[in-house]
Structure formats: C-alpha cells, structure tokens
Amino acid sequence: MPILDIKNLTLEMETGGTRVKALDRVNLSINSGEIRALVGESGSGKSLIVSAISGALPPQWHITADRMTWKGENLLSMRADERREIMRRDIAVVFQHPIAAMDPSTTLGEQLEESIPNELVEGKLFWQRKQSRRRTAIGLVHKVGIKNHEHYLNAFPHQISSDIGQKFMIAMALVSQPDLLIADDPTRGMETTTKTKVLKLLARLNQTKSLSILFVSHDLLAIASMAHTMTVLYCGQTVESGQMKHIRKRPLHPYTKALLDSAPSFRNDLPPKSYLPTLDGTIPTLQHVPIGCRLGPRCPRAQKQCVVTPAVRKVHDHTYSCHFPLHMDKL
C-alpha cells in the first residue's frame, strides 16, 4: 500500500491566452520507506508535481486526477485545514529555490524555530519553550552539516549562499519529523563533497526513521546512488517508472535511455573527449507540445503511431508508455 498514490494527474493552466496541459496523466506512487527519484529535463513539470502534492498551486489552475491519496485519504477533496494538517505533520517539502522560499525579513533561526511543531517542544513556560526550540534548531542545523550555527541562525536569507540555504531548507523540512520528504533539487549547485554528505544524511534518515523520500533532480549520479525507484518525466508525461536497478540495466523508453547515456559517469566504456550520445533538439515549450507521445519529434524510434498517446503498460512493477519500447524483444 503506497502512502502517496497519484493516478492520472492532469494540470491545465492558461498561458498567453491558451490553455495548456502542463501535466498530462502523470502517475506517481511512493511506498512507505521508499526513496523515489523523479527525473526529467528542466521544464518537464517536476516542480509542478511537487506543488500539486503540497497544494501550493494557484487556484485558477485546473487540477484533476483519478486518484491522489495520502495514506488512503483523498487529497483533492480534502478541506483546506485538513490538508494543512497533513502538510504540517506528515509531509515536508524542500523547494527548489531555497533563498526565495524563505521569508526575507526573518532570520533563519526564527523561521526554523517557527516550523517546529508545538508537540515537539518541551517545557511549559514560554522561555523554556523558547530555549527548547533553540536547542532543537541548533541540533538540526548541525545534523544537516552546518557547523557555524551562531552565525547562520542569526543570518537573514539574503546573507547566505544558496548551498547553505538548501541545507537550511532540509533542516526545516526535517524538523517536524515527517513521513514523507519531498526534495526538489536539493543538491543543485553543491560541490561534490557537500552533496555526498547531504545524500548520506537523507539515506540514513531513510534507513533509521524509515522516512520516505521523493527525490526530484536531474542529477542522475545522485539519484543512482540512493534512490530505490525512479519515475522519469518528459514534458509533463510520465514515460517510465520502476525499480532503479531495472531501469538502469534495461531502460524501456528511448528517452530514459538517452537520459542515462548522457551522463558520462555511468559509462566506463566511454573514451575521454568522445561525443556523448544525445537526443536531438530540446524540450518543446508548453504552447507547442506535439500531439500524442510528446517525445515524438525527437525520438530516434518514432513512427506513425506515435501521434497517438501511448497507453501505460506494465511489466512486473515496471511501467512505461511507449509504442516501441527498447529491449522488448529480449524480454
């Protein structure tokens, strides 16, 4: 039983006078204790999914789904305060742009302390509670690998660099001891050492606290090192989803393959300075998505049928949507 289960999530919005489907029948489910990676190119709609789950979408956007449940409860039909309660207790989100996601007029410490749920604060009197909050905050900051807590807790968002910001966002997300952590590109721009530390922290939390994680990124290296399962998104459509190791070994969708191939780290057979395999072109803008399979024009295996949206197919727990999948002949 997945804790988060999304089926056929469609998101429509108005841009430039036309109504476009930014997300087109996206499926995503996360099991308890699982680290799921959500991969896709920039603009493929990853952050939109995150927003849809956290309920942070503008009201004028149309969001429909066959199913969108949290532990069996329907998120879409829920009252605002119930949903807020879930967000406060169970789900934590790390947004993509950490500095922008922090109140510019409040110190980091205050914001962090504010996020600590009341039930986790010890003491009755307000100064005791205050101290308790401070202690918790310092502990958290250390946990995510910030040493100089004095300096950073009293700093304002504009004074810190974005990697510190990301760490703070993670700390803020972890403070409420959630069941699910949604991390939108938490390691962007970090150098490798710090990145590894953060990833290790997440992995450890996953193991010790059985924290489920939805890990959004296009850093395949990071994903490959920690995720159990992976969902690949292209242009608002889920193209493939399944166990990490299966996908790595045998990607079924041409796009997934192209994605994996483009990371030189995955390929020990690649001679230095050789051309990397890649798909032609770039992701289309939302106003000009091709009909049917949205990869169509770029796909090396595209044929006539591709103008029809491919149905979701399933092999064991490996789902894909493609008319002409790879490796299928071998199966």
Binding site: M87, D103, S105, E114, F156, M172
Partner: protein, 343 residues
C-alpha cells in the same frame, strides 16, 4: 548600523546645508532689497540702513555672510515678516504645527483605514470586493485635492450643514497657543468649556482631514494591496503554507510583516504628497497652517517670510523622509539598498 546612521547624519547635514545655501541665495535672487529680504526690516533712512547692513554683515564677503546667516538661523533669529512685522519664528511656530496636526490626522486615517482595507483587498485579490475597493481607490486617488475639498464644502457644509468650513475652531473660543496642536491646546486651556471646544474643534477637523485623508487613504490602499499581492505571490509564502502553517500565522508573521516593510519606503513619498495636499487644502478651509501662510506670503510678496517658510517646510519634510528612511533601515534587515517604488 552605527555606520549607516553616521552616514545618514552626514548626508542629512549636508542636505540641510545645501538647503541653507539655497535659502541664503534667495536673499539675492528675490526681487528687491537683499537687506529687506534677509531681515524683513525696512530701514527708514540711510543711517539706519548702514547700521543694519553692518549688523547683518551684508558688507562682507558671501561666505562670511552665509556663516553669519547660519549662525542666526541656529540662534533662532529668523527675521521679521515684512508685512505683519512679527518675528517669523513665532509665526512659523504657530503655522507649522497646524499643518502638522492636519497631516498627522490624515496620515492616521490613511493608515488606519488604508492598511487594513488594502490588506483585505490584497488577500481577496481578483474577487468582486477587491475590484470594488480597487476601483474606488483609483477614483479617489485621481481627485485633485482642491476640487475634492470644494465638493466636500458644497456637500457637507453648505447643503447638509454638518461641518463648518473654515478654521480650526470657532473663533469664539480663545485657545492659547501652547503646543500648536489644537486638541492638546484645548485640553491645556483654562476657563473654557472643554467638551464644547473639543466637539467644535473636531467638527472643524472633519472636512479637511477627510479631503486629504481620502486621497492618502486611496494611495495607501493601493500600495498595501499591491504589496500584499506581491508578497502573497512570492515563493516563500507558498513554502510557508506547505510547511503547514495556519493562515493566521502566515498572515501575521509573514505576509503582513513583509508587506508593511515594502510599504514603509513608499510612505516617504506619501508624506510629501500629504503635506502638499495639506498645504493646498488649508487655503480652502482657511486652516491657519503653513501652506496658507506661504500662499499669503507670496501674494503679499513677503520675501523674508517666504524664504524662511520654504526652508522650514522643506527641512520638516526632509527630516520626516530621512526618519522614515532610517526607520526602514532599522527594522528591515533584508533591504540592502533603500529603493523607492511606486504606487
């Protein structure tokens, strides 16, 4: 911070110095006799004239004259009104607080009504009530203040007879000028019927305050609304929401704070507009404030009065703006540079 404060102080002094230089230059720029323009005194004969020139060091070089001028400014010797013969410091001491009082009430009105209504409109952005508020505010904001005041006079004074149209209080009351704020002075005054006087003064205050206040309130609503909408759309509010903070928490701790921080620098401009409007409205309501005084001075070609009056008002306005500026800097840590925005 002390660094910034000292920088402000230096720049502020510099600005005042520039103002002083300008007002000093006016002695020579205004038509007529520099001696009269400086002192407001008309020498009866040449001997007296010579004596005055020597006394005010007008026979010395410009820097020395200016130094002397500054000295006199500091000592409070601001010269005499050419027309009434009264010391200018006294006249300004009466007129300035009157304007200040009027502006203060209008500002309070703008804040008390403008900010909550603006917040409300911002929170309910793009709903019917928001459109209604927005339309009303853009209409009120477009009124030329003098016309608005006239309309008020016609409607409320002449037709309805609700409020009187001139002065600060019925002239039958004799209120000694202590603080310059009529309501306080009434409380300080002896031998009068305080209740009656307060009611009378309040009735006199209503229309001018409304006229200025309405425009400022409209401006305030627009600024606040814009600011609230901007803050609401900013990602950190989304983030706060997804952290499960309650609406109240978000509004009080994040939206309000950031919205008001953004409003503060704009208030500096509002203060200027407000005082300008107050000065214009004063002439219509015969409010004995600095605007009325200055307009009379210009009609009477009372150059010494003009010079000091302009210096005094601009000093007041600049001081207010700088104070708001400093305040803004004090309470808003995130703003690196203070930028003025628009409504």
């Amino acid at each position: 911070m002390i660094n910034a404060l000292s920088r402000y102080t230096i720049l502020f002094t510099l600005t005042l110095l520039v103002l002083a230089v300008l007002s000093f230059a006016l002695i020579y720029l205004f038509p007529g006799d520099p001696l009269t323009n400086l002192t407001g005194l008309v020498p009866q004969n040449d001997i007296q004239r010579e004596a005055l020139i020597r006394q005010f060091k007008l026979d010395q070089s410009y820097p020395i004259q200016f130094y002397h001028y500054l000295q006199q400014l500091f000592l409070g010797n601001w010269g005499y009104s050419f027309i009434s013969g009264q010391p200018l410091r006294e006249e300004i001491g009466i007129a300035m607080p009157a304007t200040f009082e009027l502006s203060t009430y209008a500002m309070v009105m703008a804040l008390l009504i403008g900010v909550p209504v603006g917040c409300y409109a911002g929170l309910k952005s793009y709903t019917v009530s928001d459109y209604a508020i927005n339309t009303a505010s853009i209409f009120s904001y477009s009124f030329p203040v003098f016309w608005l005041a006239l309309i008020f006079i016609m409607l409320f004074s002449l037709e309805a007879g609700i409020a009187p149209l001139s002065g600060r209080i019925s002239l039958l009351f004799e209120i000694p000028n202590v603080t310059g704020f009529i309501l306080i002075d009434i409380l300080l005054a002896k031998n009068i019927n305080h209740g009656l006087a307060l009611i009378d003064a309040a009735r006199h205050l209503v229309l001018p305050t409304m006229a200025i206040g309405l425009i400022s309130t409209a401006a305030m609503i627009r600024i606040t609304r814009r600011s609230v909408i901007d803050v609401m759309n900013s990602p950190f509010i989304t983030a706060a929401r997804s952290r499960g903070l309650s609406n109240r928490q978000i509004f009080m701790r994040h939206i309000l704070r950031n919205a008001l921080l953004a409003i503060l620098p704009l208030m500096a401009i509002q203060v200027t507009t407000l005082i300008t409007n107050a000065m214009i409205v004063e002439t219509l309501f015969s409010w004995p404030g600095i605007g009325n005084w200055l307009i009379n001075a210009i009609n009477q070609r009372d150059y010494p009065a003009l010079r000091i009056g302009v210096l005094a008002v601009s000093t007041m306005v600049i001081t207010l703006t700088v104070l708001i500026d400093i305040l803004n800097r004090l309470i808003d840590p995130s703003r690196e540079k203070f930028e003025r925005g628009t409504i």
